[in-house]
């Protein structure tokens, strides 16, 4: 798995608008939420870091363009979700193969954060991709419906529909009664 190399030098902070200062600010504000989002999606903290770093490195390479977006972090969220969708499938199959061989993945010493309620997270990760993305962005990242729609590239009504269906599926999977089927986080 290609991992972006860390910086060889600190980015130079200047007083000029744009340029390094903008990217640095974007990086600092984005790396935590992106890694968290990737972790929620994949359940693998080290892999989540790769995903976040990949997205940020891509953002850097295209910064001239991405910085002009209304919501660069939305772009990066989209990148993380796309990467986790395509690459997680491969990682998951590799993990299953290693399990069959009785091997374990490398341990980088990182402490895996605790998301709590593993049953709920299994259910969330079992949702169809779009529903899962809406749950993560709308509920956990606390984005608005419009923001979620922008990130995943659909209309607001579609976001609400995914949210509604995701709740129904989660309730069924967990044997819960969804007693609050109003839009919840769907603002």
């Amino acid at each position: 798995m290609p991992v972006p190399q860390p910086a060889l030098a600190e980015p130079e902070l200047t007083e000029a608008k744009g340029g390094d200062v903008d990217y640095e600010a974007f990086y600092r504000s984005g790396v935590g939420p992106l890694r968290r989002l990737a972790f929620a999606r994949t359940g693998d903290w080290a892999f989540a870091e790769d995903l976040a770093q990949d997205a940020l490195a891509d953002a850097f390479r295209q910064w001239e363009r991405i910085s002009a977006y209304e919501d660069p972090l939305g772009w990066a969220r989209r990148a993380v979700l796309n990467r986790s969708a395509s690459r997680w499938r491969r990682i998951a199959s590799e993990t299953r193969a290693m399990a069959r061989l009785g091997a374990r993945g490398g341990d980088d010493g990182a402490v895996e954060p605790d998301l709590g309620d593993p049953e709920l997270w299994v259910a969330i990760r079992s949702l169809p991709r779009r529903q899962q993305e809406v749950v993560l962005l709308l509920w956990f990242e606390d984005l608005s419906v419009d923001e979620v729609a922008h990130v995943i590239g659909c209309g607001g009504e579609t976001v609400r529909t995914h949210w509604r269906r995701a709740r129904t599926r989660l309730a069924e999977a967990l044997g819960e009664i969804d007693d609050d089927i109003a839009d919840g986080g769907a603002r």
Binding site: E12, G19, E49, R61, A68, W75, E157
Partner: protein, 485 residues
């Protein structure tokens, strides 16, 4: 424990992680290039490339601008000023440099409506996932010389149609190719020798890359839905005459079961759009918030495709119970899309989008949309248009936090009600809007609140609320601030 309880607890845990990242950004030696503040394709108005247009209609009157009958080459001298805006010298050239790295699968020739895969190198920073869309561009030869007319329209695609494995240096998207294209001189057929069509991708930064010319074979089916635009008596007015327009069954089912929801989800909507980009709007204190620099792209015509907008035209409605009824439309001013659109100077068209795939559940109504018809609109170059909206602060500057200020707004169209935002030049998308909502030419008074903290003499401004995502603000005014006391 209910589902909500569990979700709330999980959200609490979720928000406690990953908030203290200290990893350094991956910035290579040499640092980043300065970003350009270019507004990209954010407005998602055009949904699906035209599925059915009028092509042959014997009853079409002479004064309609829609080209009917077997295509005849228009003469350069007969073109309107707005059509001439799309002229190029050499109709045999692609509208952007042909790049052999733009791959089409399968290779042509194509049948009308065929779905194909467009593949572009990611090194070109083509980003089909987050904004770039392939455009279908046409070059229509005019007259007997070498001149041509260029127009482009983005092809819509479902995000699930994008294939991007980050380990591969290419990104692909599947699109539908329709032979009928709307051009500044009406509908044309990409299968015609005099109409050269290409797929064009842009990297979002002003560089465009064209595929090889698209060739088509087979028959062109007669369109099921037609749209004509005829001049009306009043300057700037025209009548849209749809034929064969039908409401999607899913919308009718929704209205039958949930009539109250039909109020919030129209069966159709009509957009007014221009071919090519017009003038970029709004600078602040001499600094472009919305940059208009197309230089260096090696191409004289702006080629970012169609741009749809509002402001200078009131919302247009189609009666779902009489969808073929004529609709009179009046353009009263410039439109505001991603740019200011002056339909006197660039060719504009009306397009009808039909609401489809209406999906009703107890709480929400989901839907999709497809463009079903479009027609070039007649617009006389001498049509008087209202001035753009403007605003000014009546009190002398500078101002202080807590001050009351009165803002005079002029020439806001009657159908627009908007708000006034306080913005910082470094955060032009993060304005705080006052509750005051001016109408027409109006004066509104409000208090300068906390948002002006951090503002100095030259870094904050007021703006009228944006009319849509990706649109520049229709008017701004500087807001010099000095510290209180």
């Amino acid at each position: 424990m209910t589902l909500d309880d569990r979700l709330r607890a999980a959200r609490t845990s979720y928000r406690l992680i990953g908030v203290d990242e200290t990893t350094r950004p991956a910035v290579p030696p040499g640092g980043a290039r300065s970003p350009r503040r270019v507004v990209l394709l954010l407005a998602a108005v055009v949904v699906v490339v035209v599925a059915g247009f009028v092509l042959w209609n014997d009853s079409s009157p002479e004064d309609t601008v829609q080209v009917v009958g077997p295509p005849e080459l228009p003469r350069v001298e007969d073109l309107t000023e707005a059509q001439r805006a799309h002229l190029v010298d050499d109709a045999s050239q692609a509208p952007a440099p042909v790049n052999p790295d733009i791959q089409l699968d399968p290779a042509g020739p194509y049948a009308d409506g065929q779905r194909i895969a467009v593949t572009a190198p990611t090194s070109m920073y083509v980003d089909f996932v987050n904004g770039s869309r392939p455009q279908l561009c046409s070059v229509v030869r005019v007259g007997t010389g070498t001149a041509g007319l260029v127009s482009c329209d983005p092809l819509d695609h479902d995000p699930s149609d994008v294939s991007h494995d980050v380990t591969e240096p290419f990104v692909s998207v599947r699109v539908r190719l329709d032979r009928r294209v709307l051009t500044p001189v009406g509908e044309r057929d990409c299968g015609d020798d005099e109409v050269r069509c290409y797929l064009v991708v842009d990297d979002g930064g002003g560089s465009f890359h064209a595929s090889e010319r698209l060739h088509f074979v087979g028959d062109l089916a007669a369109p099921e839905i037609a749209l004509r635009a005829e001049p009306a008596a009043e300057a700037g007015s025209f009548v849209l005459r749809p034929e064969g327009l039908t409401v999607d069954p899913s919308w009718l089912a929704m209205r039958a079961e949930h009539p109250e929801r039909a109020d919030g989800l129209a069966a159709f909507w009509v957009s007014i759009c221009s071919f090519g980009l017009g003038e970029r709007a709004t600078a602040f204190n001499g600094e472009a918030l919305w940059e208009a620099d197309y230089s260096g792209q090696g191409w004289s015509q702006p080629l970012l495709g169609s741009d749809c907008g509002g402001l200078g035209v009131a919302p247009i409605t189609i009666d779902p119970d009489a969808p073929d009824a004529p609709i009179e439309v009046t353009i009263t001013g410039e439109l505001l899309g991603r740019t200011w659109i002056d339909c006197r100077k660039r060719t504009c068209f009306a397009q009808i989008t039909r609401t489809t795939d209406v999906d009703v559940d107890p709480e929400f109504t989901g839907s999709s949309g497809e463009v079903v018809a479009a027609a070039v609109i007649p617009m006389d170059a001498a049509t008087p248009l209202a001035p753009r909206p403007s605003m000014r602060i009546l009190e002398l500057s500078p101002h202080r936090q807590g001050d009351h200020i009165t803002v005079e707004v002029r020439d806001l169209p009657d159908h627009i009600q908007t708000s006034i935002g306080v913005c910082h030049v470094d955060q032009p998308f993060n304005c705080l809007y006052s509750g005051a909502r001016p109408n027409g030419s109006d004066r509104v008074t409000f208090t300068l609140h906390d948002r002006v903290q951090g503002c100095g003499l030259d870094d904050c401004y007021l703006q009228l609320g944006n009319l849509g995502k990706g649109s520049p603000p229709p008017a701004t005014v500087a807001l010099p601030i000095v510290a209180s006391g």
